[in-house]
């Protein structure tokens, strides 16, 4: 029977054996890990930005009285939240070139990075739209009335009065979403992109040492810590007008 103590000592021995290779990464490994980290970061940052912009539009559609805008946004959220992100990534990566070939007779290769940007942005937009809609609806109705009574149009009231008041309430869920995105970027290994996790996985398989995963974990934690700290600070700063 293996007791926890035994497991612990065996782990220690393994770390000791591997010491020469793992404690110091060689330059090529270091560069590969850095490149993987950049891919991960790029996808997360691009998709949170485009997701937020698109999310605002969908959120406005959801609260609009216009039936077409309302049902289109409902449908969008229903689809992108209701199917796996991995599936959406596959559809964009595999299906679009085939549909293109079938309809035009021409082949075209899709850039996997662009695919990742599109899939992650569209998916993030669905989640962010719901977050933004809830934030807008949480603003007291008297604010819109006061803005209207002062002669503002719906658009002016939204952009100057209502939406700025949602910023503080949006920071925490946005940070949440960004952290989720950062970790979900590991899905792009399925469309031939080398993100952080994929990079260390390759190293681990090539050398037989699992300890490369620890480097990845450390980098993920480092990045998410930065996000957490920055978002916490931003939230405090934006709440300056509250008592």
């Amino acid at each position: 029977m293996t007791s926890p103590v035994h497991l612990f000592t065996r782990t220690k021995i393994k770390l000791f054996y591997d010491e020469g290779k793992i404690i110091v990464l060689n330059e090529i490994q270091l560069q590969a890990i850095l490149a993987g980290t950049i891919v991960t970061l790029e996808i997360a940052i691009v998709s949170i930005i485009f997701g937020a912009i698109f999310g605002v539009i969908i959120a406005l559609g959801r609260i609009s009285k216009n039936k077409v805008a309302n049902s289109l946004s409902w449908f969008y959220i229903w689809f992108f939240r209701g199917t796996p992100l991995l599936l959406q990534l596959f559809i964009i990566y595999y299906a679009i070139p085939i549909i293109y070939l079938d309809s035009t007779g021409m082949t075209f290769t899709i850039d996997p990075m662009l695919c990742a940007y599109v899939a992650f942005s569209l998916n993030a937009a669905a989640y962010l739209a719901e977050i933004i809609r809830a934030a807008i609806e949480s603003i007291d109705g008297g604010q819109m009335e006061a803005a209207k009574a002062l002669g503002m149009s719906y658009r002016q009231a939204m952009t100057k009065i209502i939406i700025p008041q949602t910023f503080k309430r949006l920071v925490a869920p946005m940070g949440n979403e960004l952290i989720l995105l950062l970790k979900d970027t590991s899905l792009v290994s399925t469309i031939a992109l080398s993100d952080l996790l994929r990079t260390v996985k390759t190293m681990a398989s090539a050398t037989g040492s699992w300890v490369y995963y620890i480097y990845a974990a450390a980098i993920y934690l480092f990045l998410t810590t930065i996000i957490q700290v920055v978002f916490d600070k931003t939230e405090k700063k934006l709440g300056v007008y509250e008592r």
Binding site: D140, G142, Q143, E145, A146, A147, K148, A149, L150, G151, M152, S153, Q156, K160, I161, P164, Q165, V240, Y241, E242, R243
Partner: protein, 252 residues
């Protein structure tokens, strides 16, 4: 020419008819106080004037111009929304709960609407805002956020904010009802000052003493109709209608 006019105005929320045929005309310079029990339709009537609520039936005029004409909840006339918005902006409104914009400082609360709606030059509107703050006695609070002000101070800022749009009429929807008793006086004093300057005012209030003092006309509303109206002496001291007497006995 009347400043505002309501013709046979009805308003229903679902099956609940809140206004049951209101006819009302208010002249320039008049101070009109509207009294009545809660649920009598006083606030709804104000809100119908500036399109915060759409009427179900009837006609609404602001400065002689038609802003709403409806029957059975359907528009009878297509009226240019830009024109309606401009006319409604002639009616300044002060709310029971102040509704200041919490993310803006006191001075920004006052300047935001003139600068984006009327595109008034920044220097000009800031000067006006400072004068208005002086008038309501809050010059020293110009860079505070509303959350740091007392209820009475917030309501005075709200009055200054409405005045910054240079409205022809000021409407007050129970402006002192949400205030602690010791803060009511400062708001009423500000309103009194406005009345003395000749501002046309429509005030929904429970402050009978104030109504007696400043009103040119008092309107008593009950169950969605104007039950009695006249000078403060007529309505408040010698009411003719039984319902007015009952109401006054209850609250005095």
């Amino acid at each position: 020419m009347s400043m505002v006019k309501l013709v046979d105005v009805r308003k229903s929320f679902g099956d609940n008819e809140v206004l049951k045929g209101i006819n009302l005309e208010i002249e320039s310079g008049e101070v009109v106080c509207i009294i009545g029990a809660s649920g009598s339709g006083k606030s709804t009537m104000l809100r119908c004037l500036n399109h915060l609520e759409r009427i179900t039936d009837g006609e609404v005029y602001i400065q002689g111009e038609l802003t709403d004409k409806r029957e059975k909840n359907k528009d009878l006339m297509k009226i240019d929304p830009v024109k309606v918005q401009a006319l409604c902006a002639e009616l300044g409104m002060v709310f029971q709960n102040f509704n200041l914009f919490p993310h803006l400082t006191v001075i920004q609360n006052i300047t935001v609407a003139p600068s984006i709606v009327k595109k008034v030059d920044k220097g000009v509107i800031e000067k006006t805002a400072l004068e208005l703050l002086e008038m309501v006695g809050l010059s020293d609070k110009k860079d505070e956020y509303p959350s740091r002000l007392s209820g009475g101070q917030q309501q005075r800022v709200a009055i200054a904010r409405a005045l910054a749009m240079e409205p022809m009429i000021m409407m007050f929807d129970e402006p002192t009802s949400a205030l602690d008793p010791e803060l009511v006086g400062e708001v009423l004093a500000t309103m009194r000052k406005l009345a003395e300057e000749g501002m046309t005012m429509i005030i929904v209030t429970h402050e009978i003493g104030f109504a007696r003092e400043v009103a040119d006309r008092v309107i008593f509303m009950d169950e969605g109709v104007i039950c009695e109206q006249g000078t403060p002496e007529e309505v408040l001291l010698n009411p003719k209608e039984e319902r007015t007497k009952t109401f006054l006995n209850k609250i005095l």
